[in-house]
């Protein structure tokens, strides 16, 4: 395939350089962004493509973006053929089907030139905290039936020419979002990232020469593909199925069936979600790009976590879902809250592959909570959007307990309490692990997490994005399920229980208590090391009664 041969030494150096460029784009984006989601939460990704629109290198950022990227350039080229692109251009796009499955994720792609020749593309995507639509944060699930309610849909547009934003386009976008200053700041940060990446990419290309670079690209893709094939080849052949479900898609709605059939055949893997439920009239559908992103993630977790991600490594992985299914909906299916689905995509594949690779599998995750609370901040007289990320535990693993309170599947940082309270009219009353919530097991799951948020503004709209309120995170191989999640409005008042995708109007003084589920255990709890049970009691992860009843270990609670 490669015309020019490349030696291992040159390949090593070039590959490292490309990964370094992708990382540098990410740090540029983080350092120049305005919103908490990007600046604090790391909710973005970066990538480098060759001129054939093949994904060559990505930074170590959030996998939903990473896995949706491979087809982004191809889609953009349908609108802007290569010959129409000029140095200094950048193309913006946030379409759910073409991008990463919901409007807040805005992709900005820049062609990279060496002299007059197009040599590739640099791309980054950032989660914007608002792109308009029915509710602050643009992730409202319940009551949103079609994509047109979800805010601004941007098919590929040339928003930057000769390194400068088109003022007309920018004005139109900013007029349709609730926090224009943050959106504009983040868009400009995205351009900074691309400019930094493009400059280095071009310099590397010029110093190495076209022949060597092309050979390096081919070698990177071929070697990654070969390694992925080798890793898949090591998994026993067969079809492994697993069924799980999402609670619902809003109050009073039925569950969404999540059913997967994973087929390993030689060196290829097919992950088929066709048995799952149909697309739903709420903003939570997972477009195929998004389904594919987390399928690739799951396969990587089960094969080689540290293999750099690119188009080559993805070739042996086939993601399928019938048209019109929840995991391959047709436009204008609404999808703003599709982030709630990612953990379930992983959980289902994990459940299936547990049959083939029990040592790599883990109990089901705690779910996560991704609420948006928006209204007018009386201190500034301007709209605010509090975008929150709360993560709890991992399922128990074959050789150890699940991690406590760690980003599951997606890979973001949380937003500090002091940052939230400084920037938004809210008071957070607690953030603590929930006793006895972890799924018991030889290796227990991580605990659930409670966070209580009080509104200090006169009123606000809250959209919830959670799950596992009805279907607890399951354990594996005799491990127990974790405790179910709950969302309670005014726990010290009438303690109204909310659905996981509820939408509510809050008034001053309302307190919303988020209680994430505990993660599933692994193996029979009676086989757990009694010393570990006693340690958990001493540390308050479990009560003495739980230790006695579930683990069969007698221990008095230490007074503190």
């Amino acid at each position: 395939m490669s015309a020019t041969a490349i030696d291992p030494v040159g390949l090593t150096v070039i590959w490292n350089s490309l990964l370094g460029i992708a990382e540098e784009m990410g740090s540029t984006l983080r350092r120049t962004a305005f919103s908490e989601a990007v600046r604090e939460g790391d909710d973005f990704s970066t990538g480098l493509f060759d001129a054939e629109a093949r994904l060559i290198a990505q930074g170590n950022f959030t996998p939903g973006h990473l896995g949706s990227m491979p087809y982004v350039i191809e889609s953009m080229l349908d609108y802007f053929p290569r010959e129409a692109l000029r140095p200094g251009d950048a193309i913006l796009m946030n379409d759910s089907a073409l991008g990463s499955g919901h409007f807040p994720d805005c992709f900005l792609a820049s062609p990279v030139f060496a002299g007059d020749a197009l040599i590739g593309f640099v791309v980054n995507t950032a989660h914007h905290i608002d792109v308009g639509g029915a509710a602050p944060g643009s992730q409202r699930v319940h009551g949103v039936h079609e994509a047109f309610q979800e805010g601004l849909r941007i098919l590929p547009v040339r928003i930057v020419r000769e390194g400068a934003f088109e003022p007309d386009l920018l004005r139109m976008i900013l007029a349709n979002v609730r926090v224009p200053a943050k959106v504009e700041g983040d868009l400009r940060a995205q351009l900074n990232a691309n400019q930094a990446g493009a400059e280095r990419f071009a310099r590397l290309w010029e110093s190495e020469g076209a022949g060597v670079m092309t050979a390096a690209f081919n070698a990177i893709l071929e070697k990654s593909e070969a390694r992925m094939r080798e890793l898949i080849g090591a998994i026993p052949d067969g079809t492994y199925s697993f069924d799980d479900r999402l609670d619902d898609y809003g109050p009073g709605t039925p569950p969404i069936i999540v059913a997967v059939d994973v087929t390993i055949e030689g060196e290829e893997i097919e992950v088929d979600f066709s048995r799952s439920g149909d697309q739903v009239p709420a903003a939570i559908n997972a477009y195929l790009n998004y389904t594919r992103a987390y399928t690739v993630f799951a396969v990587k977790v089960f094969s080689d976590a540290l293999l750099p991600q690119n188009a080559g490594g993805m070739r042996p992985i086939r993601t399928k879902a019938r048209e019109g299914c929840f995991f391959n909906p047709t436009f204008p299916a609404a999808s703003g809250g599709r982030a709630a689905v990612q953990i379930r995509i992983f959980d289902a594949i994990n459940g299936a592959l547990a049959q083939a690779l029990p040592g790599r599998a883990m109990g089901a995750f705690s779910h996560w909570s991704n609420p948006n609370i928006g209204g007018i901040d009386e201190a500034t007289g301007k709209p605010f959007v509090m975008y929150d990320l709360t993560f709890a535990g991992y399922g128990g693993r074959a050789d150890r307990d699940g991690a406590e309170a760690l980003a599951p599947v997606m890979n973001c940082r949380n937003i500090p309490i002091e940052v939230h309270e400084t920037n938004n009219p809210v008071r957070i009353h607690c953030l603590e692990l929930i006793r006895d919530s972890a799924g018991a097991g030889r290796h227990r799951g991580g605990a659930g997490l409670r966070k209580d948020i009080e509104l200090l503004a006169a009123e606000a709209t809250m959209t919830l994005l959670g799950d596992r309120h009805l279907n607890a995170p399951w354990g594996l191989f005799g491990g127990h399920s974790g405790a179910r999640a709950e969302t309670v409005l005014n726990p010290d008042g009438n303690a109204e229980r909310l659905g996981s995708k509820d939408v509510r109007r809050l008034v001053r003084g309302d307190v919303v208590s988020f209680r994430l589920s505990g993660a599933g255990g692994y193996g029979d709890p009676r086989e757990r090391d009694p010393g570990a049970v006693r340690r958990d009691i001493a540390d308050g992860y479990i009560s003495p009664a739980h230790g006695r009843e579930v683990y069969g270990v007698e221990e008095k609670e230490r007074s503190e």
Binding site: E24, S27, A226, V301, A405, P416, I417, H429, L449
Partner: protein, 597 residues
């Protein structure tokens, strides 16, 4: 007057004794990990004996130490309790929650310094602007103190929400503690790290409390031992940001000295740069396990307001964040002992390290996996007969065999090419780090020189000026142990003398090459023909530069390789003369000269 400085490292404790008008004396002694003060006291006495001095003749003693770092890394601090706002006991357990490896769900988070049972809550609440929303409840404070004492806590950290804006509640907790247990050291977040973001502030405060008894005992023991030998003058400890602090401050705020040792290297670079007329320097300190990169901006060591201690695999986000000023350092898992392997057709180096034991194959101490040092030996960058000033011989044949087995054969390369590949891969890792330190942090690499030091540092940076657009590279002539040298360099510079650090005046090319063969062009440089030259700065014997016109012509990696070791440098290089001896002699001469005038 005389001054002494010492630095405790993982393997060796280094000493330097400096006095007006005479050459400094150096001493290297094995570290005594179970009681680090023991090696210090022994070396202190020995060096004074050798110089025929009494302790009373010293005017100043300076000290850099990793004792605080090691207590954190090995989790060997004191039993500590953390007191925090009710509802937030899990802040340090939760952390910032991002995985440092995206695709690794089997990873571990860094374990907190205290178990959850030692995290105690008090009832109180402050708003972001510091106004009191819930007054501190004294009963809850007493209950927390009861629990801490019952657990046998020997140190207390207090970190309440928004205490950066108002330290009154923390101070009240401290007062209550003082009333109940006056001897118990208390660390307050409003004092140690008054900044917003609760996890980072709490982590810093907790780390301070955790190492406080250990550092305190050590400092007092050392002070006592020095006093017993008749030393009664100034005793200073270097802090992470590069300044000197008294033992009393070090004891109260030991979190300030966590990066004590590495900081000194960057200070040294600033001093050398000052003498050499270079005020923009990237520093490169490469030891056996890691490389640390820092920067000097406008003549001042760059200081960061936050850094991480004990990172896992040197991944950002994997360590414990500390909000204290520290000399900006980026640490990567690429040292002389970093292990090389071939995987999916490319060469990987580190972060796994053979360390000092078993060490690289060429040490002949049981190491079986090829390392960067083995590659450097095969390439002729290291002299097998004169390693560590002749104290060690290196086994070049074993190094060749290891590289052949693990790298050359799997990839179908000659041994020299494979060794060059290992060297280049290590260089690529460093170049990435170099980019982070330079462009990502707003430094234009074209304006910066690089200064390399540390045991392995001087073998590596020759190739960078090309790859990273750095302007020049240089290194001190003696295998310096940074902190004493830094102290020394500062002293020298403060008297407006040139430090005698530079190998020799590189103005005359012939002599330069003769006296410093380690700085002959490597394969990369050779491809550029005459790019390897001495300094062009008139009269300043400072930067032995590959100041690089070739940068613009940008020789590719391939081209560099094509004239690389296979074709040009297969043979064993001519042996370096006794470099250290030469340099020491040079320094002595110059030193004498300078005092003479």
């Amino acid at each position: 007057m005389w001054r002494m400085a010492f630095d405790i490292g993982g393997t060796f404790t280094d000493f330097v004794l400096a006095g007006a008008g005479v050459a400094p004396r150096f001493l290297k002694a094995p570290t005594t990990p179970e009681d680090p003060a023991a090696a210090v006291v022994a070396g202190f006495e020995r060096l004074l004996d050798e110089a025929g001095l009494a302790a009373g003749e010293l005017s100043t003693v300076l000290h850099a130490t990793t004792i605080a770092t090691n207590a954190i890394i090995e989790r060997k601090g004191a039993p500590t309790a953390l007191i925090t706002t009710r509802g937030f006991r899990d802040v340090v357990i939760i952390g910032r929650q991002k995985r440092y490896e995206t695709y690794d769900l089997h990873m571990e988070k860094p374990p907190p310094l205290v178990p959850r049972r030692a995290i105690l809550e008090v009832t109180e609440r402050l708003a972001p602007d510091g106004t009191v929303e819930i007054a501190l409840d004294p009963e809850s404070v007493e209950a927390a103190i009861d629990a801490a004492l019952a657990q046998g806590a020997r140190s207390i950290a207090v970190a309440l929400l928004h205490a950066y804006a108002n330290g009154a509640h923390e101070a009240a907790v401290a007062a209550a503690l003082a009333a109940r247990a006056p001897a118990l050291p208390v660390s307050l977040s409003s004092v140690i790290s008054p900044k917003f973001r609760e996890y980072e502030r709490t982590s810093t405060t907790l780390a301070n409390a955790y190492v406080r008894p250990v550092v305190g005992a050590y400092v007092r023991r050392l002070q006592g031992a020095l006093a017993a030998r008749g030393f009664a003058e100034d005793f200073f400890i270097m802090q992470s940001a590069g300044g000197l602090i008294s033992p009393e401050i070090a004891e109260a705020e030991p979190v300030r000295i966590v990066e004590s040792g590495p900081a000194a290297g960057v200070l040294m670079a600033a001093e050398i740069g000052r003498a050499a007329g270079e005020d923009q320097i990237i520093t490169f300190d490469m030891g056996g396990t890691t490389a640390k990169l820092g920067a000097v901006d406008d003549g001042r060591p760059a200081v960061t307001q936050t850094f991480e201690v004990d990172p896992i695999r040197y991944r950002p986000g994997s360590g414990l964040p500390l909000n204290v000023p520290a000399v900006e350092l980026l640490e990567i898992g690429a040292g002389g002992g970093s292990i090389a392997r071939a995987d999916i057709g490319v060469i990987h180096v580190g972060p796994e390290s053979a360390g000092a034991a078993p060490g690289p194959i060429c040490y002949g101490q049981g190491g079986t996996r090829p390392t960067v040092s083995d590659a450097n030996l095969v390439l002729g960058y290291l002299n097998p007969d004169y390693f560590n000033a002749g104290e060690m011989r290196l086994d070049a044949e074993a190094a060749r065999a290891g590289i052949e087995r693990d790298i050359a054969r799997p990839l179908g390369l000659t041994v020299e090419w494979a060794a060059w590949g290992v060297h280049a891969a290590a260089n690529a890792n460093m170049e990435r780090a170099m980019r982070i330190v330079s462009v990502e942090r707003g430094r234009d690499p074209r304006r910066f020189a690089i200064l390399a030091f540390g045991g392995a540092g001087r073998c590596m940076p020759r190739a960078w000026p090309r790859g990273s657009a750095l302007r020049a590279s240089s290194c001190p002539s003696v295998p310096v142990s940074a902190p004493p040298s830094a102290c020394w360099a500062r002293r020298r510079a403060s008297r407006r003398r040139r430090p005698g650090f530079w190998a020799s005046r590189p103005a005359r090319k012939g002599r330069w090459q003769k006296s410093s063969p380690a700085w002959r062009p490597g394969p990369g440089a050779m491809s550029r023909g005459s790019a390897w030259r001495g300094s062009r700065r008139g009269g300043v014997p400072a930067i032995c530069a590959t100041r690089d016109r070739a940068t613009r012509s940008a020789p590719s990696c391939r081209r560099a390789i094509s004239t690389g070791p296979g074709s040009r440098r297969r043979g064993r290089p001519s042996m370096p003369p006794t470099r250290r001896a030469t340099a020491t002699a040079t320094r002595r001469q110059r030193s004498r000269r300078s005092t003479g005038t």
